[in-house]
């Protein structure tokens, strides 16, 4: 290039200044672009980030909707004075813990508090008057209310009956599937850790460390071998499939009964069972393992499984709307295992809820209703959002077969192991169970009782069916009739009186 440069035309400040201005405008445009990226396109991801406290702040900014029993709230909300404005309170926390679950600012929401959370916290779309406008104006709807099907009297009777034993009660209205009581002991106060303070954390940690597992909902979330109470299912299967046609005719069960393919004898708890020619009715009244084990094998695995499943066994998605643990009846077994399973042992295990469904299905003339805990959902102003509709779970047996099983259960209470459940002025049908468990059956047996009751002489469907299990008791003589039947009796009485 030539050394002496030709003076070239240089841009003036008017031009360079304008370019500088354009550069500044580009800077501003870059900012607007970035703001758009974050506030429009990335907003959802940031909003949903677990470290973003806004969701929690908004959730607790207003009182939570209530859970009601018999039209009276059993929950409330209290101002905290902290960043999260309101926390959950419970009027009688431990009494209803198995019904409500908990709603904690730290530990989340479980059971009914969890399944109905969107309604209770006000985010449920059904609460919105004008969904789109509410979205734009960011209007927060007040939390809705959850009316439960629980009967205060039945729940009280159940909790009182369980006392300081480890156990659970589930009670159902057979004709509708309405859950009347859901109790589990030892219980806990869900309000003790509803907030976010250190006291809440200490309460939670203490409950978690408690070896008695007070936060375990034994009525819904724990299965136990049902023992002899399962014989109701076996009897229903035997009658429904023609294995037995007359409950008062000899069943043909041998005595002693040797488990098929083995040399082991299926033993009975009472020597009265150790004779041949027993009728089904006698076998139920005396709770004879040998006869019912024999009948289970005669009915066959497939039909036994089908009947168990009619009552709620093997259902992993039994939502009331809280999901119950899956009750089990094995579907692949040899005959000796079928015999043991038919008397509620081997791998057979049931939640108290499902055993209550067994009693309720029999009481409702063979129709098992879907168990439901929620009567209705309303907005804060009381407008109904959703109303419970009874629905059939399964038709387990014909009304005729159900009638025969009802007779068997009535006889158990009148003449057999279930005498402790007798109620004057009422017809009661029931079945006891004392299930062995543990290594070499060393554990304290589970004491069971399932039953239903109706006013004497009534031809209507019994208003209550109940299942009681005592998992651990200090009593010296642990039997279903001794420990569980009195509790079932008081729950049934509470409902009958209420009725």
């Amino acid at each position: 290039m030539a050394k002496p440069r030709k003076p070239q035309r240089r841009h003036g400040i008017s031009t360079t200044g304008r370019r500088a201005g354009t550069f500044c405008l580009l800077l501003v445009l870059a900012l607007i672009g970035q703001a758009t990226w974050i506030q429009v396109f990335q907003a959802k991801a940031y909003d949903d980030n677990a470290a973003n406290q806004r969701t929690a702040i908004q959730r607790y900014a207003q009182p939570r909707g209530n859970i009601l029993v018999g039209g009276t709230p059993i929950t409330g909300s209290a101002p905290t004075g902290g960043r999260f404005d309101f926390k959950r309170t419970y009027t009688d926390g431990s009494q209803y813990a198995a019904v409500t679950g908990f709603s904690s600012q730290i530990y989340g929401n479980t059971q009914l508090e969890g399944t109905e959370d969107s309604l209770l916290s006000g985010t449920d779309n059904r609460l919105a008057g004008w969904a789109l406008w509410d979205e734009i104006s960011r209007k927060q709807n007040p939390g809705g209310d959850v009316y439960t099907t629980i009967s205060k009297a039945a729940q009280q009777a159940a909790m009182q009956g369980l006392g300081n034993q480890k156990g659970a009660v589930a009670a159902i209205e057979p004709s509708t599937g309405r859950i009347l009581a859901l109790a589990s002991t030892p219980s806990y106060d869900p309000g003790s850790f509803a907030g976010s303070g250190s006291g809440d954390q200490n309460a939670w940690n203490a409950l978690q460390a408690d070896t008695n597992q007070p936060m375990l909902n034994r009525a819904l979330r724990q299965t136990y071998p049902p023992g002899s109470t399962f014989k109701v299912v076996t009897a229903a299967a035997a009658l429904a499939n023609g294995t037995v046609t007359d409950i008062n005719a000899p069943t043909g069960a041998p005595s002693p009964y040797v488990l098929p393919g083995t040399t082991t004898t299926l033993v009975n708890d009472t020597s009265a069972c150790d004779r041949s020619g027993l009728t089904l009715d006698t076998a139920m009244v005396l709770s004879c393992n040998s006869v019912l084990g024999y009948l289970g094998v005669q009915t066959g695995l497939d039909k036994m499984t089908a009947m168990a499943e009619n009552f709620g066994f093997n259902d992993a998605k039994l939502d009331i709307p809280v999901r119950a643990a899956r009750s089990n009846f094995d579907t692949r077994m040899n005959q000796s295992q079928v015999a043991l399973s038919s008397i509620g042992q081997f791998d057979t295990a049931a939640t108290p809820l499902v055993m209550a469904m067994v009693a309720a299905g029999v009481a409702n003339n063979g129709t098992v209703m879907y168990p439901q805990l929620v009567d209705k959902l309303t907005k804060a102003d009381g407008t109904t959002v959703q109303l419970m509709k009874p629905s059939t779970y399964k038709q387990a047996t014909s009304p005729a077969v159900a009638g025969q099983v009802q007779q068997l259960m009535t006889d158990v209470v009148e003449n057999g192991t279930g005498r402790n459940a007798r109620i004057s002025g009422a017809t009661v049908g029931g079945k006891t169970g004392t299930a062995q468990h543990g290594v070499d059956n060393s554990g304290t047996p589970y004491a069971w009782f399932i039953s239903w009751a109706k006013p004497a002489g009534s031809s209507a469907v019994p208003p209550v069916a109940v299942a009681v299990v005592i998992a651990d008791s200090n009593a010296t003589d642990v039997t279903g009739g001794g420990l569980a039947a009195p509790i079932a009796k008081s729950v049934m009485q509470a409902v009958l009186q209420d009725h």
């Binding site: 400040i13 500088a20 550069f23 500044c24 405008l25 970035q34 703001a35 907003a43 806004r54």
Partner: protein, 451 residues
């Protein structure tokens, strides 16, 4: 700057009729700005307490009195000034007071809105004093070197005071504290403008050619580079990266505007990158800022909860398009500096993308009025100074807003007129005073030019 052809021609044309001073437009806009600010103040109260703040009327009256006083002085002493400058400044300052008041409501133990109002009043007073005293901006040219020296002293001063949050940028005298760096930037802009106005031809036309770039003679560019290096050196020592980035940007823009040599911008950016990488590598303070910028959510996955940048992003995201409404957001979760460096996040959350874009456009408008003033002026010093001051606002907004929006690494600066901080708001009002004076001279009809 949006319509170059019209702008370029306008000031050169002889006035064809009575020149419109625009003072009545200014009056209407000033009252509108006060109205918007008072509306925002009332909205905060309504949204938080369900009723207007009890002092809303007196607050509005105070703001209106201040605004009308400023308008009166401009009408009296700077009749032809750009009518948008004052309303824009009032509106931005008003928004800032509203947002600070709103954040005060979330921090019961610390109420700074009254102090900020006091600083704003002082800012307006100084602005008016400058307008009254400084009849012609060209006078400043004489004091350019003294100003540069004063600026350097101001910048060095904080080294003798204890560091605040990792940066030595504060001077504390009793209960008062201020950031000298804020004032220094005006003095530096004046110095650059004065120096470049005199030497721009020498800078642009002489020197040796290396490949395609023409480099200026050492003795011409030397003093500028020296002053600039002294500034940046001090700032790096004080770990005030925001201000050093700002001054560097100002230097490069003014150099380009004066000389039209784009090659220097390339060199400047190259030097800046080298400097940035070196500092980012050596200084742990800066290094952590870069890491936070690249991975704003890293502290969450590390189990340490959301850091400030993450909280800031959460706030913007929570605002969405329309915002939560004043007083209804939770930007206070950002914690430290929520009222100063991070104040934009509150605006983003509570006024949404719509409000944020509006705010950015207000700044863009203010900057464009400054650039217009520069283009309309006829003396090189004034032209460079006006454009420099406009660029100062633009770059400062970009550096701080880009930081809290995670567009660039965060380097603490204040959002002009809005963020909490006395030095900042006073400095910005002085910039407005200079632009008012210069635009008055630029738009004044020739017959009245001699004053």
């Amino acid at each position: 700057m949006a319509t170059p052809s019209a702008l370029a021609a306008a000031p050169r044309l002889p006035p064809t009729g009575p020149v419109r001073s625009g003072r009545n437009v200014e009056l209407v806009l000033v009252l509108a700005a006060v109205g918007i600010a008072v509306f925002g103040y009332v909205e905060v109260g309504v949204n938080i307490d369900g009723r207007a703040p009890s002092d809303a009327a007196s607050y509005g009256a105070a703001l209106a009195a201040l605004a009308l006083l400023a308008h009166g002085v401009i009408r009296w002493k700077a009749r032809y000034a750009d009518p948008l400058l004052l309303p824009l400044a009032i509106l931005l300052n008003g928004i800032g007071l509203v947002v600070i008041y709103r954040l005060d409501r979330a921090t019961p133990s610390s109420h700074v809105a009254p102090t900020q109002l006091l600083w704003s009043t002082l800012g307006v007073a100084l602005c008016l004093a400058v307008i009254l005293v400084l009849r012609d901006h060209r006078i400043l040219q004489r004091y350019a070197y003294i100003g540069a020296l004063a600026a350097l002293v101001l910048l060095i001063l904080p080294i003798f005071f204890p560091p605040v949050y990792g940066s030595r940028i504060w001077v504390t005298v009793g209960p008062l504290s201020f950031q000298p760096g804020e004032f220094a930037k005006i003095l530096l802009a004046v110095f650059f403008a004065a120096y470049l106005a005199v030497h721009r031809d020498a800078l642009a036309l002489t020197g040796r050619q290396i490949w395609r770039w023409q480099l200026p003679r050492g003795r011409v560019i030397g003093p500028v580079l020296l002053v600039w290096a002294a500034f940046v050196g001090v700032l790096v020592l004080e770990t005030d990266l925001g201000t050093s980035l700002l001054l560097f940007g100002l230097f490069v823009v003014m150099l380009y505007v004066a000389t039209a040599r784009s090659g220097w911008i390339t060199i400047g950016l190259l030097l800046a990158s080298v400097g940035a990488v070196t500092v980012g590598w050596l200084s742990p303070h800066v290094h952590s800022r870069v890491v936070d910028w690249l991975h704003p959510l890293a502290s969450i996955s590390a189990g340490q909860g959301a850091n400030q940048i993450a909280q800031s992003l959460f706030a913007f995201a929570a605002g969405g398009i329309l915002g939560t409404g004043l007083g209804l957001g939770h930007s206070i979760l950002i914690g430290f500096a929520a009222k100063s460096d991070f104040i934009l996040a509150t605006i983003g959350e509570e006024l949404g993308l719509v409000g944020l874009t509006g705010l950015f456009l207000l700044y863009a408008l203010l900057v464009s009025r400054g650039v217009r003033t520069g283009i309309a002026l006829r003396d090189p010093f004034g032209r460079l100074l006006a454009i420099g001051l406009a660029a100062l606002i633009a770059i400062q907004v970009f550096v701080v807003a880009g930081g809290v929006l995670d567009l660039i690494p965060l380097t603490g600066l204040t959002l002009p007129f809005i963020a909490q901080g006395g030095s900042s708001v006073v400095t910005n009002w002085i910039i407005i005073a200079l632009l008012v004076r210069m635009s008055d001279i630029a738009r004044r009809p020739p017959s009245t030019e001699e004053v």
